[in-house]
Structure formats: C-alpha cells, structure tokens
Amino acid sequence: MSLASVGLEHFLVFSAALFAIGVYCVAARRNAVVMLMGVEMILNAANVNLVAFARCTTGAIDGTIFAVFGIVLAAAEAAVALAIVLALFRHMGTIDTADTRQMKG
C-alpha cells in the first residue's frame, strides 16, 4: 500500500474508517436520529467496499448491482426508522434513547 498510487487498499481503509465512525455514532450517541445517521454511514461504507471490489477484481457488474440494492434498502430503512422515531416522540415526548426505557404503547 503505497501513498502515491491509489489502489484497492486505500478504498478499503477509507470505508473501514467510515464504518468505525458509524459504529461509534450508533453505540455512543443518545439521539435516535443521530444513531440513524450512523447506520447510514455503515451502509455507505459497505457500498463503497462492494464497488471497490467490483472495480478492482473481476470487473463484473454484480458488485455495483449489489450496491444499488443496498441504497434502495437504506432508503426503505430510513423511511421506516424515522417513522418509528416520530412515533417514539409522540408516545414518550423524547427521542433520547437513555430516557426511553419502556416499550409499552
């Protein structure tokens, strides 16, 4: 892994960093929406990995197709999760995950 010429490893290291920051967002933040942002970062990192391997190894279209489906599922996940956040806010009056300790309706 040299610095002057960018290859597969550079993209992998980049997506590893993005993934780790996303995991930190999910694990350490208490705002539910910021936790969702962490999930989006994790999905983005996974997509970058898929595209990087598709570009650098076989050159087939499959990795890119998987990334497209990943984006589609991320959109669906965001819609449902934000709806859950809104419902949580209506029931509990807060979206702080430290305060929402009960799952009763």
Partner: protein, 182 residues
C-alpha cells in the same frame, strides 16, 4: 507492502491520488463532526459532507451511476427526511444535556479496535487484483442487468419499497386498529 501485487493495478496516480486524499479527508472529517457535534441539526448538516464525499469516492471508482444515485437518494431524500425528523422531535432544552451516553469511552475504544482490525485486514491481505481497466459508463450495463439477470430482486425491491412506504405512513400517523366505542 504489496507493491508487487498491486503494481499495475493503481486506479489513481499523481493529481488523481491527491484529489482522492482530499475527498477522503473531507468525508472522514465531516463524519467525525456528525459523531461529535452536540446539536443534532449540525450533525445532519455535516452528514451532507459525508454523503457528497462518498459520491466523490464512487466517481473515483468509475461508478458514475452510483454517484448520481447517491446524490439523489441520500442528499436529496434521506437527509431531508432526517432534517424533518429532527425538527419535528427536538427540544431546545435537550441540547444542554450530554449528547453521549456514559459508555462513550468504551464505545470509542471499541471502535478504535474495530478500525485497527479492519485496516490491518485490508492492508495485509494479498487481494487478487486485476490490472486497471478503462473506465466505462455503467448506466446501460446496470439497466440491462437489472432487467435480465437481476429481474426478480428488482421486482422484490419495488415491493419492499412499497411496504416500507405504507408501513412508515401507518407508524407515523399512529393508526389505532381497535376502534373505541363512543
């Protein structure tokens, strides 16, 4: 370390490599801002930088269609949705409290360990890379693959999107299924 394996397979050199590092720095910096800014609205605006940076990374990977998709869906859709959710749910009083839970140091060390393992894995594994190819436009190939080999996942994805849409509306509106008698 593996210059012999990756010698002829460099995707970017010279000015391209410098641009790659710049985009990487912007992306990682803004995602750190998302993780550490106390105000959720600032986090959402920093997320713009992360999504734009990932779109730039797709450009470096010659995935033009994915870069446009990233801009349209993430920046144009998901981010607006998140901003709406923040504005609908946040209270001013909340910003005075600690934004992180008690286990922030534990989470940070966990993520640092995870990052170290992943970087070691990425750098030390002798990936079988092929020589660098010419970048081709991907849109036509993706469309063809979606309607031939990946037709079933394509249709299932549309059903999933519809189900998520209906589910999101039902959850967000708070429909009561047991109707109460007056």
């Amino acid at each position: 370390m593996h210059e012999t394996a990756t010698g002829g397979s460099a995707l970017l050199t010279g000015l391209g490599a410098a641009a790659f590092y710049l985009v990487c720095a912007v992306t990682i910096g803004s995602s750190l801002a998302v993780a550490f800014w106390r105000n959720a609205v600032y986090s959402a605006f920093a997320l713009v930088g992360t999504f734009l940076g990932v779109a730039g990374i797709y450009v470096f990977l010659a995935a033009d269609f994915l870069a446009v998709l990233q801009l349209m869906i993430y920046v144009g859709g998901i981010l607006v949705l998140m901003l709406f959710a923040i504005m609908l749910t946040s209270k001013i009083a909340e910003s005075h409290r600690a934004p992180r839970s008690v286990g922030a140091w534990a989470a940070g060390s966990l993520c640092a360990g995870l990052l170290a393992i992943l970087v070691l894995l990425a750098v030390e594994t002798p990936w079988k890379v092929s020589p660098a190819r010419e970048a081709e436009p991907l849109t036509g190939a993706i469309g063809e693959a979606l309607l031939t080999r990946y037709l079933l996942p394509f249709e299932v994805a549309s059903v999933v999107l519809l189900a998520a849409l209906v589910g999101a509306v039902v959850i967000a509106r708070g429909v009561r299924w047991r109707r109460e008698e007056p």
